[in-house]
């Protein structure tokens, strides 16, 4: 059960206890220690900061959680010297609670629970071609050179805020996907991170696609208990190499007691393509930064957001489309539906640097409001320093159309069915952009189940 959590919370002592069994390369331990110093030095985000103005952290108690720990036990595989009891290579029963991994042929799976790697598997043919898909914990030992280069120029800055620093110090149970140049993985890969009641998930995903590589990664989070408290403090770092193509689906589906803080950033190089789909359904409070930087000419990014809030959830997603190179295209569509007394914040910025001429930037946020007591903050943004650009954004918000409900009911649907259908119609535009059918179905179903009758 919960012996994996250290009792001493987030003290230096606990941190050192967390570090000692890991037996990681010295360069990584040093980075973690620097990040820990930053964590201790940085204050909790102040409500006065524009980025945190709408997110109320007053009820969040970091002290109610602790660092992930490990049970000391002899290693099965002395060659890897990975923390024992952390990785099981044997085939176990299929993942519980996952939505995205169903009804689709997968090339591999990486599973973690409570920040501990549980299992990773990758079909042999891909392994032979040099694809690496394992827990990040194992990868820092097995792919040390590759990861050292990556960690030394981190894509997510550990000093962004206190949560980023904590994560950089204590990440555990993450994933590495590395696809060598020219290799095209034609079946999706899947990761699932699960959280038990009261536990923490500090998983970090690192995705690196070499030149001309292709892959599809479906990542999902889930809670064992639908309402128990938990904490996620995570990061996602993506590097899409020149002419590479990545489809990345990220479904946040924690229970309603989980505090979720994440920094997610992708760099898209010359002529590369990124399709990044974000599903945000769970958590008690989520504060996510999702940034895409187009760093080489001809880069393209399509960002899809599917959000559904209910109860007293507070979800705050901040996106950035940063055009650093010319001739790049970014296209962001975030759609959210709100129910009960939930609060959804979407803040998006398109930033075009002076040299990013011939930028084509688009940003759109649509919200469907299903009750009288929600709150939605929709904040698009443009900061344009080049002149030969085409940048537009749009935002709409509204309720379910009474006429549509009436019409559906005359056709024999109950009110709930009618609303569900309208909600499905609302999300259709963003679902159409998701080119992985199983993901469309899974998201559609998850949202449909959440819709209650509304007035």
């Amino acid at each position: 059960m919960t012996e994996s959590m250290l009792e001493t919370g987030f003290s230096l002592e606990a941190f050192e206890q967390f570090l000692s069994p890991r037996r990681e390369p010295a360069w990584l331990t040093l980075l973690r220690k620097e990040a820990w110093d930053a964590f201790e030095e940085l204050p909790f985000p102040d409500r006065g900061l524009e980025e945190w103005r709408r997110t109320d952290l007053r009820l969040f108690r970091l002290g109610g959680f602790g660092l992930p720990g490990f049970e000391p036990a002899p290693s099965d595989n002395p060659a890897t010297s990975v923390p024992p009891a952390a990785v099981h290579h044997a085939r176990e029963q299929p993942p519980r609670g996952g939505l995205l991994g169903r009804n689709v042929e997968l090339a591999g799976r990486v599973l973690a629970e409570d920040s501990r790697p549980i299992r990773d598997e990758l079909d042999q043919p891909w392994r032979e071609r040099g694809v690496v898909f394992t827990s990040l914990d194992a990868a820092v030992l097995e792919q040390s050179d590759l990861l050292k280069r990556h960690f030394l120029s981190p894509i997510v800055d550990p000093r962004s805020d206190k949560f980023a620093a904590l994560h950089a110090a204590c990440w555990s149970g993450g994933t590495l996907l590395y696809v060598p140049p020219g290799v095209r993985v034609d079946q999706p890969l899947y990761t699932l991170s699960r959280l038990s009641p009261g536990q923490v998930d500090f998983g970090r995903a690192v995705v690196i696609l070499g030149e001309g590589a292709e892959a599809t990664l479906l990542a999902e989070t889930a809670s064992v208990d639908p309402a128990a408290p938990g904490l996620h403090c995570g990061a996602i770092e993506i590097r899409v190499g020149p002419r590479a193509k990545l489809r990345y689906v990220n479904l946040q589906n924690w229970g309603t007691g989980v505090w979720h803080f994440a920094h997610q950033r992708a760099l898209v190089d010359r002529d590369a393509q990124l399709q990044w789909t974000m599903g945000a359904l769970g958590s008690r409070l989520a504060k996510v930064n999702q940034h895409v930087a187009l760093i080489g000419p001809g880069a393209e990014a399509q960002v899809n957001g599917v959000m559904f809030t209910e109860g007293k959830q507070h979800l705050s997603y901040h996106t950035l489309q940063h055009h650093q190179a010319p001739h790049c295209k970014s296209d962001l569509l975030y759609k959210g539906a709100l129910q009960d007394q939930s609060h959804l914040v979407w803040r998006g910025m398109i930033r075009v640097d002076r040299d990013a001429q011939k930028t084509d930037g688009y940003q759109r946020n649509d919200n469907l409001i299903l009750s009288d007591t929600v709150r939605v903050d929709s904040i698009p943004g443009l900061e344009i320093l080049a002149d030969d650009v085409k940048c537009t954004h749009g935002a709409t918000s509204g309720r379910v159309d009474d006429e549509q409900i009436f019409y559906a009911r005359t056709r024999g649907l109950t009110r709930k069915e009618a609303v569900r259908m309208i909600v499905a119609g609302f999300f259709q535009q963003v679902f159409d952009r998701i080119t992985i059918e199983s993901v469309r179905d899974a998201l559609g179903e998850a949202i449909g189940r959440r819709v209650r009758e509304c007035d």
């Binding site: 109320d56 009820l59 007293k312």
Partner: protein, 112 residues
């Protein structure tokens, strides 16, 4: 001292009366709400620690008679009813029931 939850008629114990002097205040948590508890003219008053103008904390503002003044933009609210008394606030903040028994202060959330 551990907070006791007294579920008698929805009232929750929040603190000791002796902790708050006349004209003083304390910010407490009741369930998932943050409440400003004030002692004015011998009685206790509880309102949401929330300025309805910008959604930020209210309870740390200045007290002027029965009005609490939001420190950021000067919106005023009546401590007793939560009513908004000045721009830029246009809506009341929630005011809750308070009762005192012995040295214990209890708050019952008044849902809108």
């Amino acid at each position: 001292m551990k907070e006791e939850v007294s579920r008698m008629n929805g009232f929750q114990r929040v603190c000791r009366a002796s902790e708050i002097p006349e004209g003083g205040r304390k910010v407490v948590e009741v369930g998932d709400r943050v409440i400003g508890l004030f002692r004015v003219q011998g009685q206790f008053w509880a309102i949401d620690d929330l300025c309805t103008h910008d959604g930020g904390p209210l309870a740390e503002g200045a007290l002027e008679g029965w009005a609490i003044v939001c420190p950021r933009h000067g919106a005023r609210f009546d401590l007793r009813t939560g009513q908004a008394l000045s721009m830029p606030a246009t809506r009341p903040t929630a005011a809750h029931e308070v009762k005192v028994e012995g040295d214990d202060v209890f708050v019952k959330i008044r849902e809108a």
